[in-house]
């Protein structure tokens, strides 16, 4: 079969867009400082709950220990309260269709669950019990600590985690963001008194936010939250991550993973934060470069050359730093050629204008995928929780959509020159050094290190 030509006259035109429903957002701040956002939404009879509590390490010096304790605390909070043991907590949640997950990231604790609407009051009551009276019983805490250590060891055996950790260490140096996973020996030192102390000092309503989306009445739901969480009255100041200064490393770091059949290429650099007017242009530049299937990076190293299954780029936001990131897992034998192509496409973004069709396609995709993502209870709840948790108003979404609509080809060019230029990015590769270091050295200086199995405080991917 000969290659088809695109004849636009054959393609059915798009119809008239139908209006997106605008969510009715009820927002209040309780006397204890907790921000509460309630959004009733048509859809299935469920409610989605998200709670975010600021939980950053206060300084670089305490980052490793804090991260270790935060990881154990997020599992151990569900091990018991004054009135209930682990099983009692789990059964109450399950009877309302819920399963509460508690996780930690470098900025916060994240609580989330789905639940049947009739369970709103009892689940909020349990949440209050956990926030004000998690018991951290000694023996179960030891079990959770040991499981956390095992899970971290398993995570560290994943090449994607090795790559992410190495890039974070290289970019952030002695900032807490340099230590996304705690060293095993610090996890082993965590005990129940340390968790109780950390909880008392840091699990605070001030700076925290709760989002409820789904089948609910905004007023009744807000009242239910106020009644249930009123006892959560611990006072203190929320700790946010200190300002993060990016360290741009000029040489490629190669983390040796002997025998690896693939190399994990990771590039990263700064990006505008959510309140920065340049964000919309950078997001669209990111899409055109590698943000979706219809991008230059995917067309080049996947669909033309077959080097990689799922190459991509993203814009990621943390409280104290936003990032432009490039990921490509490529066959060992094409490691250097793949890096060259990724760089080439970055350079082309930085130096030559994108086409109007590329910009229009990227814009429509970003707007369309925002609409798809927020068209479920869970998607809207997670989106709002991320915004509100970052201290932004719920109508940030609408403003951002307008900003995306106004971006021009020149705006994308300026944004790409600043943020997507190869010279703005730090690069890390994880792979078989014996096979890939010589070809990579043809492209520039390479520093070879070894992957850590048990990390040491302050060190990243080894060097």
């Amino acid at each position: 079969m000969s290659a088809a030509q695109l004849d636009l006259s054959l393609i059915p035109p798009l119809g008239e867009p139908r209006p997106q429903p605008v969510p009715e957002v009820a927002e209040t701040t309780l006397a204890n400082g907790l921000r509460v956002v309630v959004v009733p939404r048509p859809g299935v009879p469920l409610v989605e709950l998200r709670l975010r509590v600021p939980f950053a390490a206060a300084s670089a010096g305490e980052a490793a220990e804090h991260t270790a304790r935060a990881m154990v605390l997020s599992g151990a909070m569900l091990l018991g309260t004054a009135d209930r043991d682990q099983a009692g907590i789990a059964e109450l949640l399950q009877s309302h269709g819920a399963e509460l997950s508690i996780a930690s990231d470098p900025d916060r604790l994240l609580f989330g669950t789905t639940l049947l609407p009739g369970g709103l009051a009892p689940v909020l009551g349990l949440l209050s019990e956990l926030l004000t009276g998690a018991a951290y019983p000694e023996h179960p805490v030891e079990g959770e600590r040991d499981r956390t250590a095992e899970r971290i060891a398993i995570a560290r055996s994943q090449p994607a985690v090795i790559a992410r950790t190495a890039l974070a260490a290289r970019r952030y140096g002695d900032h807490p963001y340099a230590v996304p996973l705690p060293p095993a020996e610090l996890v082993a030192e965590v005990d129940a008194p340390a968790l109780r102390r950390l909880h008392a000092e840091r699990v605070l309503p001030a700076g925290s936010s709760l989002v409820l989306v789904g089948e609910l009445d905004p007023r009744a739901a807000t009242d239910a939250v106020a009644a249930a969480l009123e006892p959560w009255s611990a006072s203190g100041r929320a700790v946010e991550a200190p300002p993060a200064a990016e360290r741009r490393a000029a040489t490629l770091q190669l983390v040796d993973r002997p025998g690896a059949v693939q190399s994990n290429l990771r590039l990263g650099g700064p990006a505008p934060q959510r309140t920065d007017p340049e964000l919309a242009a950078v997001r669209l530049a990111n899409m055109i470069y590698g943000g979706y299937f219809s991008s230059r990076l995917v067309e080049n190293i996947r669909e033309r050359r077959g080097y990689s299954y799922s190459p991509r780029s993203t814009v990621d936001h943390q409280a104290a730093a936003s990032s432009f990131l490039v990921d490509a897992d490529v066959a060992t034998e094409v490691t250097a050629p793949a890096l060259l192509e990724a760089w080439y496409e970055l350079g082309r973004m930085a130096l030559a204008p994108v086409t109007a069709a590329e910009l229009d396609g990227a814009r429509r995709y970003v707007l369309g995928s925002m609409a798809l993502t927020t068209a479920t209870h869970a998607g809207l709840a997670s989106t709002l929780a991320a915004l509100v948790g970052a201290g932004l108003p719920a109508d940030w979404l609408a403003e951002h959509q307008q900003a995306l609509s106004a971006v021009t080809v020149d705006d994308v060019g300026a944004a790409a020159q600043r943020y997507l230029a190869p010279g703005a990015l730090t690069a890390v590769a994880v792979g078989d050094a014996e096979r890939v270091s010589a070809p990579l050295e043809a492209l520039g200086a390479v520093e070879v290190g070894v992957a850590e199995v048990d990390a040491h405080p302050g060190a990243g991917g080894g060097a």
């Binding site: 079969m1 088809a4 048509p42 399963e99 049947l116 299954y309």
Partner: protein, 451 residues
């Protein structure tokens, strides 16, 4: 909103049956067939201006011939390489530049393709699916490119990571006997490398006939208008012979099967137990008891195995149980397993883990299940089904799978109510199949990493 769905749902008393019934009512299913044999299912719901389009072809990993392992999946990739009127890369651009998303996936008994889009892009998606149903661009250049891409996919997901094949590619090899169930559905590199354009053309001709497919459209659509559009775009695709549904069932095991695999990238050991379960289609009522048994054993912190293995005895780091190779119990035919998977510390002997699992199953067999415990499990299962159904794409895929595998799209809307009606006696009876005398056990030994 035309269907007035929400006001009716304000009844939500939290009762399992009420919500289950409501889910069934809110998504009426319309169906018709074209002269070329294409089955069409429409599931309108105009509450959000989003539409989902999917085509399910009745061919999956289990239908691959010997010597062609991985071909169903490789061919799935070929369906994104362009078609008669769509150049390479343009399928993605036409969907994404309309604000939509797309993908495809290869399962045991079917291969699907789907788009989720703003409602105004419906006709464009129908054009794209019809164009590749008629004539995908099967060329030497595209095939060579996608063999390379698939090999990278297998390296990412299997070869370059710990636990990559565990247990989904490794357990069926010992749990079953027939080629359909035992072979590697991702494919050997030898088979992938030797695939030819003729193989792909033959595969398309045999399995991608319109009569072997289900088209399902859900979300913001008008039934009459959509039927006209479907006839316009899919009507001209010529009919071809439809292959008979191949038998994939096989005799039940009569003895324990046990094997060991070594994983040089893994830092800690793991073990998987697989038990043959009732026919997911032909023995549906009994099968529902098995599905809830898996939930009761492993779903969440209140489950039997989570308590026993993780919290009480601390002999596991993590555990899970599921029915169906990829964890969806309702999109597979016979033969199927209930799999229990446990990651445990190196210091815990695997036989201690196995004994604890078997003992928990025996406790249910001997003591039964309390009504209250089962009601909790059912509430959680219902919430998970509702959550899937909240997404237009999620429920459109569920309707299509139910139509293709069970012959009734409506079943997807009835599942919450059907699970809610399962009795403690049915769950207890399901333990009869979890016999320690016929289990398949696959032990993963960690030979690399830190230990």
């Amino acid at each position: 909103m035309p269907d007035g769905g929400r006001s009716a749902a304000a009844v939500s008393v939290g009762g399992v049956t009420a919500a289950g019934a409501e889910l069934t009512l809110r998504h009426p299913v319309e169906r018709f067939a074209l002269d070329n044999g294409l089955r069409v299912v429409l599931a309108p719901d105009r509450s959000v201006p989003v539409v989902a389009v999917t085509v399910f072809y009745g061919v999956g990993m289990r239908n691959e011939p010997e010597g062609r392992t991985g071909f169903a999946h490789l061919f799935e990739h070929m369906m994104f390489q362009g078609s008669a009127h769509v150049p390479k890369m343009e399928h993605a651009r036409l969907v994404q530049a309309a604000g939509g998303s797309f993908n495809g996936s290869t399962h045991q008994d079917y291969t699907n393709y789907y788009e989720a889009l703003p409602a105004e892009a419906l006709e464009r998606a129908l054009f794209l699916e019809a164009d590749r149903m008629a004539a995908p661009a099967i060329t030497q250049e595209n095939l060579r490119n996608q063999i390379d891409v698939v090999k990278e996919e297998i390296r990412v997901n299997v070869l370059n990571r710990p636990y990559g094949a565990f247990p989904w590619l490794q357990l069926p090899r010992i749990a079953f006997d027939g080629f359909a169930n035992t072979h590697d559905g991702y494919g050997s590199f030898v088979d992938l490398e030797s695939s030819t354009v003729d193989d792909a053309t033959d595969f398309f001709s045999r399995y991608y006939a319109p009569g072997n497919a289900v088209l399902c459209i859900g979300g913001d659509l008008d039934v009459d208008d959509t039927e006209k559009l479907v006839r316009r775009w899919f009507g001209p695709v010529p009919a071809r012979d439809v292959p008979p549904t191949p038998p994939t069932g096989e005799p039940w095991p009569s003895e324990v099967r046990r094997d060991v695999v070594e994983d040089a990238l893994a830092p800690a050991p793991a073990v998987a137990l697989g038990w043959r379960v009732p026919d997911p289609v032909g023995d549906f009522d009994r099968y529902l008891g098995t599905v809830l048994l898996a939930e009761l054993l492993s779903e969440g912190d209140a489950s039997r195995l989570e308590r026993r293995l993780v919290h009480d005895e601390r002999i596991a780091i993590a555990q899970s149980s599921y029915v169906g190779l990829f964890g969806d119990p309702f999109d597979v035919r016979d033969a199927t397993l209930l799999t229990t998977q446990v990651h445990h510390p190196a210091g815990v002997p695997v036989d201690r883990v196995l004994a604890a699992v078997h003992e928990e199953v025996r406790r249910i067999a001997e003591d039964g299940v309390g009504a209250e415990e089962l009601a909790r499990v059912q509430a959680r299962a219902e919430a998970q089904l509702l959550r899937q159904a909240d997404s237009v794409l999620g429920r459109t895929l569920a309707f299509a799978a139910a139509e293709l595998v069970h012959g009734r799209a409506e079943l997807a809307g009835e599942l919450a109510a059907r699970l809610a009606a399962v009795t403690p006696a049915q769950v207890r009876a399901a333990t009869g199949d979890l016999d320690p005398g016929t289990v398949a056990v696959l032990e993963l030994r960690a030979t690399g990493g830190r230990r």
